[in-house]
């Protein structure tokens, strides 16, 4: 008998600390390598030390007799297991894609290609036995550069792909039209740029545990997977040839992903097939870091030639882009989408560019496969268009901030179609973000300081770099992404089930799954507000295909805008049913019922309250339900978004370059990001911090290097420069909020924006620092050596 309905604290927008943290901070997390199972065996894989070779012979006899060995197998033992699926065959995949087998047969195409496996009682025993497997190789020449791989005389990887070309793709206006526009421009700039290969390096490597039940014929896979339902479907349908429901995929706590854990990998099918071979004992495989570096997907690796046309006052009139995209030794699960749809169609950036032509050639080389890595195509696009802005500034004398301002799409233009086949940008206010960043960093003062230093010949060169970015995420409307020839031929909706138990506790089961994003916290926050149930009474479950409705998984910054909206809509359905039942319980008309803050009452009679908990109990015990109503408060939604979402903003980096040593120090970093409405600012800021660190690292430190023999020279953390705490600056974050009209909560997504924005901001800053010396462009990573060589010339 509550006289009034008290208003509990709003959870959405609150910087709530995460409920995931206590277990993760006290060693009580459960990551893949922590999973304890009875009868567990361990797998060690024999790999090719050569980039390209025929397998002449494999002798497993010595290995088979060693202590603890349960079995030794080669590719010949798994001829009935199909190669991994190529799930994205975007228009332009002109040649039949070649995907990896669980173990290579006949020929290997990259260092690390798996050719044999030992299963043993302990990991040490498995490794000992793997070292006793003797392989005889017939060496073949290797090629690692994507351009060179297409030239006559280059080593051929696969007969299905002459000249190693697996796809040719175009977007935008036709080349002749853009050539004409270039010719008619006041100013023309040509530039070649490299977006160097990166190694994602989540702190947890990948792993799989496969278990086969000989009694039921069911498989269970524990895997470091960003998309368990997708893996279940693809492994069942395309690799193992069993009905989908015969495989259960469970994802334990996951130590980062950044995209490289999206794909269907050989070890997932291998451990399942091995378990069947060893009578149903579970088989575990966990990559060591070297294996992770050799055979888990890499990112980026574009070689691009740019032709730019502009007017004298800094308007971009035409851009012609030719990109060679290195796809590695085989075709990865969604490899085709990254350098096409997610790259080419974002080349306009935040700007109105009347003429764009983009041509992409996807190429096989004797290197690790390349697929999505934080940003997946959008960092490559942002890097191009943000370098274009600075190149236009350099050629016309217009200030780089002014170039951006003059070319911006305006707020009143949205929804805005950039004319190159991307979905219309949902909402944006690019100029406000730019101005906030310029004010925050003190742009005018910095330019004055830069001029003063140049005047007096200061040895510390000051550089200011801008990046006004927009990105496409919240993937994706199924009718767009599923289009034959455009996308991956399957949907990209998301699911959510919401149950209110008779105790009043709420369980949300989502097809999204976290690997650091804090879903268990943010999803509970939004349900708490929408349903009026205390935050602590809500639990978010995920990561098990037995129980979670089919979900497409977590990547592409989609969990909140797509996964969260599915939850929001399921909560809406629960509310609807609760109102109906409350009306029955209160003997009133449905239209007279108000449900707020977890309490239903008759309009004007707040004393006659039924709480959501009472309603849930009534729905469960079911002895007095209105005619036609089923028991239980349990609603599921499959939500297909009507559009993607488009976060945006401006980042500004300030660097000092030592003129004598070439050493670069980022001394300030300002980020203004617009991710639409914010559910948990603590988590959004954390995503931006981490994103900036990765993008900055591409600009200054990271770069995967293969020598001409196809050996990965940067094969460990001693050689590949992941940044450390003293390598990164303090990030000054700020926000604008432009809600997205695409979903009811107005959210855009935040997981990748930081990375997309930061690489061009930092690279532009370094190049700006040396521009007065006649240096127009430098490729990344902008190491001291690279700067020193440029400055010495």
């Amino acid at each position: 008998m509550v006289a009034s309905v008290e208003t509990p604290e709003k959870m959405v927008g609150k910087a709530l600390k995460r409920r995931e943290d206590p277990r993760l901070m006290t060693g009580a997390g459960n990551f893949l390598d922590d999973v304890k199972l009875a009868g567990l065996t361990h797998a060690a894989i024999v790999r090719s030390p050569h980039a390209h070779a025929k397998i002449a012979n494999i002798d497993t006899s010595a290995a088979a007799g060693l202590p603890g060995v349960v079995g030794v197998f080669t590719g010949q033992d798994f001829l009935d297991v199909n190669p991994m699926p190529a799930a994205w065959q975007a228009g332009g995949v002109t040649n039949h894609p070649v995907t990896p087998r669980v173990l290579a047969i006949n020929e290997v195409h990259q260092v690390g290609d798996p050719v044999a496996v030992v299963v043993a009682e302990t990991l040490a025993q498995a490794i000992d036995a793997a070292e006793a497997v003797h392989v005889v190789w017939d060496l073949l020449p290797a090629v690692v550069n994507a351009k060179r791989a297409t030239e006559a005389g280059a080593p051929q990887l696969h007969e299905e792909a002459p000249n190693n070309i697996v796809l040719e793709w175009e977007c935008g206006k036709d080349a002749a039209t853009v050539d004409a526009a270039l010719s008619a421009s006041d100013v023309r700039v040509s530039q070649s740029i490299v977006n160097q290969r990166l190694i994602p390096t989540p702190m947890e490597t990948r792993g799989s545990i496969g278990r086969y039940d000989p009694g039921t014929g069911d498989y269970t896979l524990w895997a470091t997977s960003q998309a368990p339902h997708v893996h279940r479907l693809l492994l069942a349908a395309f690799v193992l040839g069993v009905p989908e429901q015969k495989i259960r995929v469970i994802v334990p706590d996951m130590g980062g992903g950044f995209g490289c854990k999206i794909f269907v990998y050989y070890d997932m099918a291998l451990t399942l097939a091995l378990s069947k071979k060893v009578g149903g004992r579970p088989v575990k495989f966990v990559e060591d870091r070297s294996e992770n570096y050799l055979t888990t997907t890499h990112g980026r690796d574009h070689i691009t030639d740019l032709e730019i046309g502009a007017s004298n006052d800094g308007h971009i009139t035409a851009i012609k882009v030719k990109t060679f995209a290195n796809l590695g030794a085989y075709f990865s699960t969604i490899a085709a989408g990254i350098p096409t749809t997610l790259y080419g169609r974002m080349l306009a950036g935040c700007y109105k560019v009347p003429n764009i032509h983009c041509h992409v050639t996807g190429v096989y080389t004797n290197t690790a496969m390349v697929d999505a890595y934080r940003g997946a195509g959008r960092p490559e696009a942002a890097f191009v268009i943000e370098r274009v802005c600075d190149l236009v500034a350099g050629a016309t004398g217009v200030d780089p901030a002014e170039v951006r301002r003059r070319n911006f799409i305006q707020p009143s233009d949205f929804p805005y179609d950039t004319g190159i086949g991307m979905l219309p940008y949902d909402s944006g206010d690019y100029e406000t973000a730019l101005d906030r960043a310029l004010t925050s960093v003190g742009y005018a003062e910095l330019r004055a300081e830069q001029a003063a230093r140049r005047e007096r010949g200061d040895g510390k060169l000051l550089g200011i770099g801008l990046s006004s970015y927009v990105e496409v995420c919240g993937v994706a409307p199924s009718k767009w992404i599923g289009l034959q020839g455009e996308g991956w031929g399957a949907g990209l909706w998301e699911s959510a089930n919401v149950k209110v138990h008779l105790t009043g506790k709420v369980v949300v089961t989502t097809g999204s799954l976290p690997h650091g994003q804090g879903h268990e916290t943010t999803f509970a926050q939004l349900v708490s507000d929408e349903l009026g149930v205390p935050y602590d009474d809500i639990e978010v479950e995920h990561s098990d295909t037995h129980g979670a409705p089919f979900g497409f998984g977590t990547y592409g910054s989609r969990s909140l805008s797509v996964g969260g909206t599915a939850i929001y809509k399921s909560v809406g359905k629960v509310r609807e049913k609760a109102i109906k039942l409350a009306a029955h319980m209160l003997e009133a008309a449905e239209a007279d019922i108000v449900l707020e803050n977890g309490k239903a009452y008759v309009k004007g009679l707040p004393a006659s309250v039924k709480t959501i908990q009472e309603i849930a109990l009534a729905a469960h015990v079911a002895y007095d339900l209105p005619a036609g109503m089923e028991p239980y408060l349990d609603e599921t939604t499959y939500y297909d978004p009507p559009n993607c979402t488009f976060p945006f903003g401006t980042h500004i980096c300030v660097v000092e370059v030592d003129r004598d040593t070439g050493h670069v120090v980022p001394i300030r970093y300002v980020a203004v990001d617009d991710v639409g409405n914010v559910v948990n600012p603590l988590i959004v800021d954390g995503q931006i911090h981490g994103g900036i660190a990765q993008g900055l690292a591409q600009a200054l430190y990271e770069g995967a290097v293969y020598n001409d023999d196809g050996q990965l020279v940067t094969g460990t953390l001693m050689d590949y420069a992941i940044p450390r705490a003293s390598n990164v600056p303090f990030y000054e974050l700020d926000r604008t909020v432009t809600p997205s009209p695409v979903n009811p909560m107005g959210v855009k997504g935040a997981g990748e924006a930081g990375t997309i924005a930061s690489t061009p901001a930092v690279a532009n800053a370094v190049i700006d620092a040396v521009a007065h010396l006649g240096i127009k462009h430098l490729d990344m990573p902008l190491t001291p050596e690279r700067l020193w060589r440029a400055l010495s010339n």
Partner: protein, 165 residues
């Protein structure tokens, strides 16, 4: 045709881990991190690299932070070891763990045990550090998720709280 050499004899060790005494036999080549994870079932200490680079394996050995992937269990007869499991529990967190929670100093949580063990040892030797000193102290621990800013804030929080702020 591998030369089969007889496996070297196992070594007996007695160690105290998180206050509990253990007697065990280990192969000479067994790393401390493998001993903790596989033989004692303490899986809070993680492996993130091939050796020595990432810091996910940091534990306290006789009061000092060490990378448990770079020391053999066989060397540790008589040693006292503290792992993340021995530092604090949900409901009774160490002040550094409290700082990580308040400041959102973790995302995926994989580097976190090592980060916390390094931080606690560091604050013992430098209870009032500057931001630069904190960043430098954490240089042996890689994080791919957080960009380090909130980890630095977590350590600052713990330092301030320990100093009575």
């Amino acid at each position: 045709m591998a030369d089969t050499v007889a496996a070297p004899a196992k070594v007996a060790i007695s160690v105290t881990v998180n206050g509990k005494a253990h007697s065990a036999e280990v192969e000479p080549r067994t790393l401390l991190v493998s001993f903790l994870r596989e033989q004692l079932g303490l899986t809070g200490t993680h492996i993130g690299c091939d050796t020595s680079s990432c810091g996910a394996c940091v534990v306290h050995l006789n009061g000092e932070a060490v990378k448990s992937c770079t020391i053999f269990a066989a060397q540790l007869d008589g040693a006292e070891i503290t792992t993340i499991e021995g530092l604090g529990t949900d409901g009774n967190l160490h002040v550094v763990q409290e700082g990580f929670w308040e400041m959102h100093g973790l995302q995926c949580g994989y580097c976190t045990p090592g980060m916390i063990m390094t931080s606690t040892a560091f604050l013992k030797s430098n209870p009032n550090p500057t931001e630069d000193e904190i960043r430098h102290a954490l240089d042996g621990n890689l994080c791919r998720c957080t960009g380090y800013q909130n980890i630095v804030r977590a350590v600052q929080y713990a330092a301030a709280k320990s100093n009575g702020a």
